[in-house]
Amino acid sequence: MRYGFPWIILAILLCLPAYLSAQSLETLLERYAGENAAGYVEPLITAFGSSLNSGLFYRARVERKGLHINFRLNGMAARFSEKQRHYTASTESFFVPPREVTTPTIIGEPQGAVLTGAGGAVYVFPGGYNLSSLPLVVPTVTVGNVMGTELVGRYFSTNAFQDIGKVKLLGVGFRHSLSQYVSSPLDISLGFAYHTFEIGDIFTNKLTTLQLVVGKSFSFLDVYAGGGYESSVANVKYTFTATEEPRTIELRVHGKNRFRMLVGFNLNLLIFHLNLDYNVGYQQIVNVGFGIGL
């Protein structure tokens, strides 16, 4: 099934609850009580983190002062690599003999590894969602400028998805012009942002990023490039019911996104701004933003 804009934004949001619902995630994780679960969900954590740490700006320049306000919608797609589709997991429970095997992560093939053990006992690992990419649509507001500094904010909250409870995104950050202190033909700025992203009671993701951007602005075109350091940590909470009395499992999963390089451009047409950047790090991200503002 395909949708065209503007229905696609709705479609992405509407299929969010299906694969991120507590029931769905718990079913997938129910197989795992420990380290296996962290390896299983890690690609999704990394993809969320890498995506949300993208699209925080659309040019390098930050004016020293003057009114600047921009409302932007960012569409991001995190492309999963082949190595993210599998990981090494261990058998748990009463399966004999204990073994390690390469099996799909949560974004891998729908059929997990199947092991045959002593006497014909069988251990089945869960399959994945078979995702090639993770798309996200995020609203972004930029306000400034005071002393060469602009503020960046993101907010989204809804209870519309009954299966998963509240979905909430909060992001705050700033970007400060460094080129105002030095004589440089290029615009240079340094930005920082912090995000929290929550899905019901099951998933809380906290992200930070520090990014240096260098670029040049022309009348209708801005070009920019940069690099950054970032972190992504998620708490995943679910009920483990597989082999013993039900108990709550709480995992702390670190995303593998650490460093990124990016290159992009922005097109200005009156009050409309259209930008695209390509981010290369552990996760590759394409970010496209469409904004209205001064």
Partner: protein
């Protein structure tokens, strides 16, 4: 502008929700208690516990919850088995024996074998055991019949064995993990 506009839509225009069928194991563990009593002159035991077909079925239904139905089960596997000696009156006793299964008109098939087990060494310690093929095959056959609502009675699990000491009582917990594999159809985002 027109040439660049498609770049914005590239990410979201070609995205959509698509259905994917994911195979998920939903393991469930059953607990059976064997309370074995021997008279002073007895040196062998044979305690039987009924592994009820209807209870297996209802337990699986409960475990699947509202998200799945029995029709979603693609197959069911025997994953493993463990036993725990909960109580004994003579820790020095050495036991040899079997846990065996019977179903329909089939003869007893061995699930696990116990060799020279010193009760005091395993008291309250879960023992994860290698399964034997004949027992696993019988359980698998019975479980398939149960899921097809075609069960030929209940599964009987026997704890059989002998000891050379004057053992009077043993209480054993047997845990059997079965793994129904369900097909989960779910919508996921897709970007071309």
């Amino acid at each position: 502008m027109k040439h660049f506009a498609w770049l914005f839509w590239m990410v979201i225009f070609f995205a959509a929700c698509e259905e994917v069928e994911v195979l998920q194991p939903v393991p469930i563990t059953y607990k059976l208690i064997f309370d074995i009593h021997l008279s002073p002159d007895e040196r062998s035991f044979d305690e039987t516990v009924i592994f009820s077909s209807s209870e297996i079925l209802s337990a699986i239904e409960d475990h699947l919850g509202e998200q799945f139905s029995m029709e979603d089960i693609q197959t069911i596997h025997v994953e493993g088995l463990a036993y725990t000696l909960l109580e004994t009156d003579l820790s020095l006793s050495v036991v040899n024996g079997f846990f065996q299964a019977a179903y329909g008109n089939d003869s007893l098939k061995t699930l696990i074998e116990l060799k020279d087990v010193v009760l005091g060494e395993i008291l309250e310690e879960r023992q994860v055991m290698e399964l034997q093929e004949e027992g696993v095959m019988l359980l698998k056959e019975a479980l398939t019949d149960i899921l097809n609502h075609n069960a030929r009675g209940d599964i009987l699990i026997h704890a059989r064995g002998e000891t050379f000491q004057p053992l009077r009582r043993m209480k054993i917990l047997l845990e059997i993990t079965l793994t129904p594999v369900v097909k989960q159809t779910i919508e996921v985002p897709r970007v071309l």
